[in-house]
């Protein structure tokens, strides 16, 4: 081995030593990121019992907005106000469902989900604010009728949701305050959490007495009403 070779080798191993140190730091940082990320994600994955919820909500029914608790037929409605399929479904069946709710024939539990994004959270929270004003069904209908063509486009803001509320007759300042303060934003997480536990993977999903409505019945009003009657709705 010549002197030059020796020199080269020493230089190289010195370089490698430096590299290993940097590399170990990088490895440590990656492991830390993964561990912290995964652990926080799992730790955060439970209902926030401290989140303020609208008065029509029962924790044991997945924090959904309830009507007619004592009616014999229970209908769980999982939906997202930004979901175009939900809008189509609502356009076809809204009147039938609303009549059953207002006449007290079904125990309806609405679960406004928010997996489509930030404006789903805003709309769900605003609908909860409307529920406190006794106007959930009206707000619900208006949200679908005015559904923006694209999701999370910036169309739904606190201001536009307050205006929508006014259009269905909600003028109380407590509603404005509820929307502006984001009172029920954290509650929407509880809805998501419960929907996940119930294995709800798409919207709309309806459960009649706990049983999922067959896919084909959602957009066919005759089949839809037949399913309700079969479940015991008179």
């Amino acid at each position: 081995m010549t002197m030059a070779d020796k020199d080269k080798k020493a230089k190289k191993s010195k370089l490698e030593g430096k590299d290993t140190g940097t590399r170990n730091i990088v490895i440590g940082m990656i492991l830390l990121v993964i561990l912290v990320g995964a652990i926080t994600a799992v730790a955060k994955n439970h209902a926030n019992t401290g989140a303020s919820a609208p008065s029509a909500v029962a924790a044991n029914d997945g924090y959904g907005i309830e009507f007619n608790k004592s009616a014999p037929v229970k209908v769980d409605i999982y939906e997202d106000f930004q979901c175009p399929h939900c809008r189509d479904f609502e356009a076809i069946n809204n009147q039938y469902v609303n009549t059953l709710v207002t006449s007290g024939k079904i125990h309806a539990v609405f679960h406004p989900m928010s997996f489509i994004g930030p404006e789903s959270i805003l709309t769900a929270a605003a609908a909860a604010c409307a529920s406190d004003q006794g106007k959930f069904l009206e707000m619900h209908k208006a949200l679908y009728q005015q559904q923006p063509a694209t999701e999370n486009s910036g169309a739904w803001t606190n201001a536009s949701l307050i205006k929508l509320g006014q259009s269905v007759g909600i003028n109380a300042s407590s509603f404005t305050q509820c929307v502006n303060s984001g009172k029920y934003l954290n509650w929407t997480k509880n809805i998501e959490d419960y929907a996940g536990q119930q294995n709800v993977n798409s919207t709309p999903t309806l459960l009649l007495n706990g049983k999922a409505l067959p896919q084909a019945d959602y957009l066919d009003p005759a089949a839809f009403q037949a399913a309700f009657e079969a479940a015991g709705v008179k």
């Binding site: 290993t20 990088v26 990656i30 990121v33 990320g37 994600a41 939900c86 997996f115 959490d193």
Partner: protein, 160 residues
Amino acid sequence: MKKFFTVNLQEWLTLLFRLILGGVLLAAGWIKAMAPSEAQASVRVYQVLPVKVANTFGLVLPWLEIGIALLLILGIWVKWSGLSGGALMLLFIIAIGQAWARKLPINCGCFGNGGVTADGKVHPWVYATEIMRDCGLVLCAGFIARFPRGKFSLDDKTTI
């Protein structure tokens, strides 16, 4: 001279495939990590794991993907991170394949065509394109594992 060139080319290819596989994993992992409830649904739709297990796995998987992606992109433990990335892709292929066989829609949410439309029709292309994409990534992973030595890697080149 010729041999030098091929080795050099292989090292650039390894880098390219590392960036492709790592990039896909990083993007997929990041999107899911930022939308945890959707990530959970995206595991549940395959109806393989019990709901509780699927929900936990859905939260951990995105971070696993991010971790493997970072190792691949920076070139750390390249052989093993390549194999892990490939194993994940094989897992996805199996999951999609069994969903296809059972006619399960695989898009969660409200985006319509997840392989099965509202009228119950099965659309094979939805499954096939996903499987083909993942097969391509398995090939990338295979190349990385076979030729882990590549450009811009933090791995010690003298040991591989």
